[in-house]
Symmetry: C2
Subunit: 109 residues, 2 copies
């Protein structure tokens, strides 16, 4: 093994990949990321259905009051979960921006 | 009911909030967003522990190979879930940027 051969000095270089505690943390992060991706995929499935439903039922595409309520609610949830509320809001805006991009693409396509 | 009283004309104005199908979609989106916020809170708890562990165990703060592997994996997972892989990658970078901000704040504080 090349990495092993390079570590024949008295103090081996710290190797993050070989640390079992760090490997455990990373396994948890990888599981969480897979969950996030799948939940996001489902969220976009729903917003896609919402876009189609609004278009066929003569409902307005955007609803500023709804967005304000979502932000206030997520900030509160973030705070309760000891997550920075500003990040919670930034996250929702990041997702909503992507939803808008999807809707624009759907209109253009 | 005020909303009902306002709808005595032949064609009422479309009211998104009063549409039961849309209300159902929104209830699902709100549940999903609450799940996302709580899973993100847990992810940041772990990366905070990782930061503390690396600092006390003389491990390098960043690991570019790890990030590349995470991106490749998430792109694949996104694709399987019919989510735009570019969005999957953008999402991971959005999260990692926040993790870096947390670590910088922890160093400064």
């Amino acid at each position: 093994m090349l990495a092993g051969a390079a570590m024949t000095q008295d103090k081996p270089a710290p190797n993050a990949a070989a640390d079992p505690v760090l490997a455990g943390y990373r396994a948890s992060i990888d599981n969480i990321d897979a969950a996030l991706i799948h939940i996001l995929a489902e969220r976009f499935r729903i917003t896609q259905a919402v876009g189609a439903y609004k278009a066929t039922h003569d409902l307005p595409a955007s609803d500023p009051g709804r967005e304000e309520r979502q932000i206030a609610r997520l900030r509160k949830l973030a705070e309760d979960a000891q997550l920075d509320p500003d990040f919670g809001e930034k996250f929702l805006r990041f997702i909503i921006d992507e939803v808008i991009r999807h809707h624009e693409r759907a209109k253009a396509g």
